[in-house]
Symmetry: C2
Subunit: 220 residues, 2 copies
DNA sequence: AACCGCTTGTGAACGCAGGAACAAAGTCGC
DNA sequence: GCGACTTTGTTCCTGCGTTCACAAGCGGTT
């Protein structure tokens, strides 16, 4: 009757839950039945206290003095993240990166299924990738409607990414993963996550050069 | 004489500076000479005040009442991020994703150059990608030493990622970009950034399902 | 030359995530 | 059956990042 579990789980926690889920799967494959928060935290690269706090969002799911049951915890996290049901995704832009993603087996095992691969180039249409044929971009709306795809992945050149994004949003896609090097504008109710590989490299480069700087800048 | 500029720029700010840099390049190509913080912020998808605070880490570089000079600001950010000098990178794991990255032209224009592509599979060795031949993994240490590569990119299967990471760190690589779905352990002084595509999708999926939940969970 | 509008740069408050410390609770040994 | 140990779940606190709001400064105009 009571609803003590707040509906809102911080986004940072959700991201870590996905990591825990993967570690737990590895442990389960290894035959482990229980884990302590300390061990899980080490494997996931986080602080033990933070891990327990993350897990507390799911309600009590450990045994004091023992730890967490691997199978139970894995199922619980999986249920919260919604891994049990397969989610249809569409992928637009079948270049090198798009092909790699379409062919990546890791998505299927985590509940994501590509139900449509689209490209504008006639040269790529009909090509088979990951057991699926590339379709012309014109069929995008029809496929989204027919499959009720809720997630769209954009791996097009930056110049057309916004146009693709607009079409996806208009067709009913509400979550977009953007690999194109542009910032997308979307209507309310549509989530965008951006993966920018150049930015990642530049941050790394800056941190690397900054690591040497203090020795020079601080003569005292 | 004074050193009012603190050497430490927040990591979140560095990531946004890279985004601003790209927007500024686009504006410069379009012939624009000045921009206001509001316009830049809109294009970058951030808050105008936050953008100004980010830029304040570089010292005063705008003109009140007018805005920022596009070329000047672009050069300034580029200098802080260290874009002017090319940075040698090595890439380990030439599968679909690795091939896509090796072939991506966007890196070269931003100061990153792959000086070595490595794989363990004999079938891939010698294959030419992006004008470069794939080398056997045994040559990793020699190439890192010879080229002074400071950045390593890991696109191997998860099972061997830690071993590759150890070898990179031992060879002197101090910045690692990890695409493998595992959490890497590294010695102090080595930075790791992780890009986990499955986690991104799972966060999107969770946000999407959470968007519908409140309407059900709150009957009042 | 003085005024006015516009934009930057900065100071302060708010909210959130992360980390450390502590109490509750369950198990193992005697 | 009882005590001590281990580990969870929670609470407090500190620090960072973000946002709002205002004063300072520059250009254009009269």
């Amino acid at each position: 009757m009571i609803q003590p579990r707040p509906r809102t789980i911080p986004e940072a926690t959700v991201a870590r839950l996905a990591v825990y889920l993967r570690v737990l799967s590895t442990l389960a494959d290894g035959g482990r039945s229980t884990v302590s928060s300390g061990e899980l935290a080490t494997a996931a690269g986080v602080n033990p206290a933070g891990l327990r706090k993350d897990l507390s969002h799911l309600g009590p799911c450990g045994v004091r003095g023992v730890g967490y049951e691997v199978d139970t915890l894995r199922d619980r996290i999986g249920r919260v993240l919604g891994v049990e049901r397969s989610r249809p995704c569409v992928l637009v832009g079948i270049g090198n990166l798009g092909s790699a993603l379409a062919d990546y087996a890791g998505f299927g095992s985590r509940g994501f299924e590509f139900v449509g691969l689209f490209d504008a180039s006639p040269a790529r249409i009909g090509q088979r990738i990951g057991g699926q044929a590339v379709r012309p971009i014109d069929e995008l709306e029809a496929v989204v409607t027919a499959t009720q795809a809720s997630i769209g992945v954009i791996t097009t050149p930056g110049a057309v990414a916004q146009a693709v994004c607009d079409r996806l949003a208009a067709a009913g896609v509400r979550s977009i993963l953007n690999f194109a090097p542009v910032t997308l504008a979307t209507p309310d109710g549509v989530d965008v996550r951006k993966v920018d590989l150049s930015v990642e490299l530049q941050v790394l480069a800056f941190l690397g050069q900054q690591r040497l700087a203090p020795a020079i800048g601080e003569p005292a």
